[in-house]
Amino acid sequence: MSLKGAAYIAGIYEHPTRLAKDISLAQIHAEVARGALADAGLTKNDVDAYFCAGDAPGLGPMSMIEYMGLKVRHADSTDIGGASYVLHVGHAVQAIAAGKCKVALITLAGRPRAEGMATGTVPRSRGGTPTPDEPFEFPYGPTVVNMYGMAAMRHMHEFGTTSEQLAWIKVAASHHAQHNPHALLRDVVTVEEVVNSPMISDPLHRMDCCVITDGGGAIVVVAPEIAKSLNRPKIKVIGTGETIKTQMGGKVDLTYSGARQTGPEAFAMAGVKPSDIKYASIYDSFTITVLMQLEDLGFCEKGKGGAFVSDGNLISGVGKLPFNTDGGGLCSNHPANRGGLTKVLEAVRQARGEAHPKVQVKNADLVLAHGTGGSLGSRHGSSTVILERE
């Protein structure tokens, strides 16, 4: 049985804050839930399924369902890092198709800025029982940035990708962010400014890295009969895919991501091809993340991502594939160091025609959102959704 069109995204909300000093983590989850339900025209008591990941406090669903006062028949806290919430959309579709629920709420929230977390440049032990990989990695000082740096370095070596090409990704995001009043960074930047920003971990400069922000967001996925009863644009989920890519026991290959599997799966389910997609939200923890996902999803040939992203090809109104028109994680928001949920939000805005007029893609009736959570340099989760405006 195909799950194509088995559910719709009816409500979305992005918290406007980027620094949440005086508000608790649980409170942000509740605020974004309230926002997304109001956007859909639903109430808390309509929710019968709840989804969250490792950013939620305590025991995830148990803690948050109690705090918000939900009563559910279905809960899912699958955590694949920042890509979790794209995966949750797929899982919500599955649960709705299986008759387990009708109104699924997905929330994300975090306060890494308020908590003064050294997100990208300090090796972090997870604490507790060490993962089996930890003794063989942690002593060497893996951080978020140098792990993605190794993926970028190998891509440059094998395919001749350049720092200038990667910089175009940040440039495109900055062109979009200037129109987003909530974006953390709203200045338009040039390729020269990106490649001349301080080197963090070769070959990634500061401006190749996403922002660190507090905040969050929420998504409401509903059954078709609920979507039909609501006075909102009908955004149908027509394709999903998920996987985990690993080091494969030592057969490390940093030149591709899990999108190589999730992209074709989602496209096959949707019955469309990459060239049909009018707008794409692409996970942008780093510029290299975007480049590799574009290749793996099939928007261009493997190794040709550098040429594909150059010369403004990702800028709305300029290039062939407008991406991250809210400014994305590179310029606007990367709440809780997890950028997947906001990817879905901007894809829904585009499909509804509710993006900022300066970046709205004409007739964006077919859009894609993709997430990469964890590390391109070792193990990561990948998740793709394709959405269609009915």
Partner: protein
Amino acid sequence: MAQERKLPAPSVSDETRVYWDGASAGKLMVRRCKTCGEAHHYPRAHCPYCFGVDVEWIEASGKGTLYSYSVMRRAPVPYALAYVKLAEGPTMMTNIVDCDFDKLKCDQAVKVVFKATEGGPALPVFTPA
């Protein structure tokens, strides 16, 4: 190279003790499956390819090539995180040490050396061959 980065001690379990004892004795140990013949890393009590449990320890040659690397410039002591592809097959995470980081190149030959950790077993790292 005046300063060296302090290396945290890895946690040792019964599953991995041979690896760490080997490192402290100046040997790089790799696990190889006697059922399917594949070597793997990080070492496990089972083979991640065929899931067999007849996995032996072999001493690796210590030779390899630099698959990729990244020099963390924002650390108190900059260091090179790397993946080295061992002559025996598996690719392992490591550091490249005792060299000019600006001259590193993917696919160059490297060889294993061992560095002391803070209160734990020695750690295999690599240097240009």
